[in-house]
């Protein structure tokens, strides 16, 4: 993972969101053109593990909540873009919404983006950013117990189960604890 100099942002506030190059993918901030991908995701059954489905207005607010997280917390989740095609593949990164037990590494892939290691590569980059740039000493991921694909990824990332957590909107989730900075492979 390398932290690039930022491209000319549409607006100065977007400068708060660094661009990461993970090799195959770009992790970047938010643009109005990303709304359609969010609307489609939240209209689909794929959003069932993240409190979906949501109508278009609420899907857009969800995107703006991710963007605002960067401005207010100083870190957040990125849009994942395929470097080869420019397609938006998902939303991955660091996430600490109200009521969470501690900041997490979260991943959401859009339709058709699974099976290529997108979440793995970008979650690793997110963890590397959290540990090396932000100085986090630990990290978790919260996973719906029925989300077997996400659980498999947590195992692949070296996470271990660390209890459960219930949230008013997201329901009961498993806490998966990431390896500490000294044990995590970048």
């Amino acid at each position: 993972m390398s932290v690039l100099t930022r491209p000319a942002p549409a607006h100065a506030l977007n400068a708060a969101i660094p661009v990461l190059d993970t090799g195959r993918f770009l992790m970047r901030g938010y643009r109005p053109g990303d709304i359609a991908a969010f609307t489609a995701f939240y209209a689909s059954d794929r959003s069932r593990f993240v409190a979906g489905p949501l109508d278009a207005d609420l899907a857009c607010r969800a995107l703006m909540t991710y963007a605002g997280h960067w401005l207010l917390r100083g870190y957040g989740r990125w849009m994942v873009e395929d470097k080869a095609t420019g397609a938006t593949l998902g939303n991955v990164g660091l996430w600490y919404p109200e009521g969470w037990p501690e900041p997490e590494i979260g991943w959401t892939l859009f339709e058709g983006a699974e099976g290529r290691g997108v979440a793995h590569e970008t979650a690793l980059a997110s963890r590397d950013y959290a540990y090396r740039v932000l100085g986090w000493s630990t990290a978790i991921s919260l996973i719906d117990p029925a989300n077997t694909r996400s659980r498999a990824l947590a195992l692949r990332l070296g996470c271990t189960p660390d209890g459960t957590f219930s949230h008013a909107r997201f329901g009961r989730m498993e806490i998966w604890r990431h390896p500490a900075p000294s044990e995590a492979t970048p």
Binding site: L13, D57, C60, R61, L63, M64, H69, W70, L71
Partner: protein
């Protein structure tokens, strides 16, 4: 269409600035309290925090958004242009978080500053039918009732819709 509005606007009595984490608790107190019946509230804290983040995030996405009203101390309201989906109308909103600030013309003063700075398309406004104070603000700002404006499905019933009377 993406405009970029200034970081800060000043009026005779107020400074309008972008939302910051220091404003969160005043906003939460407002939105978890009884004064939000006209805008679909009160809401649970986790929903309100997400909304506050979204209010800040719209600035990153679009280069314009809602400002926090201050007069030297803590923020006590928000005012500015909201747009969710790109096809959605540009909505001017004004809200006093603190009931003690009502009746002194703050919302009108702040909204006028935003309208003067705004160089975008026609603005709309939406007000709950029983919110007399806010209906008066819409009138003072020169907004005209327009019943043809579509309202998002999750808005409270009976919302009165307006369009800007004269482009600033």
């Amino acid at each position: 269409m993406t405009a970029t509005l200034p970081d800060t606007l000043t009026t005779a009595r107020l400074t309008l600035r972008r939302p910051a984490l220091q404003d969160l608790e005043a906003y939460v107190a407002y939105y978890t309290g009884p004064r939000t019946a006209g805008v679909g509230g009160p809401k649970p804290r986790h929903v309100v925090v997400d909304r506050f983040f979204a209010m800040a995030g719209q600035w990153a996405l679009r280069g314009f958004g809602r400002y926090v009203m201050t007069d030297g101390g803590a923020g006590f309201g928000h005012v500015g242009v909201m747009q969710t989906d790109t096809d959605a109308p540009l909505e001017l909103t004004w809200t006093l978080w603190d009931g003690a600030r009502e009746g002194q013309g703050y919302a009108t003063e702040a909204a006028r500053a935003v309208m003067a700075a705004w160089r975008g398309a026609l603005l709309i406004a939406q007000v709950a039918p029983d919110n007399a104070a806010s209906l008066r603000v819409a009138e003072k700002l020169g907004f005209l009732r327009d019943d043809d404006i579509a309202v998002p499905s999750h808005y409270p019933e009976g919302v009165v819709t307006f369009r800007q009377g004269v482009l600033a």
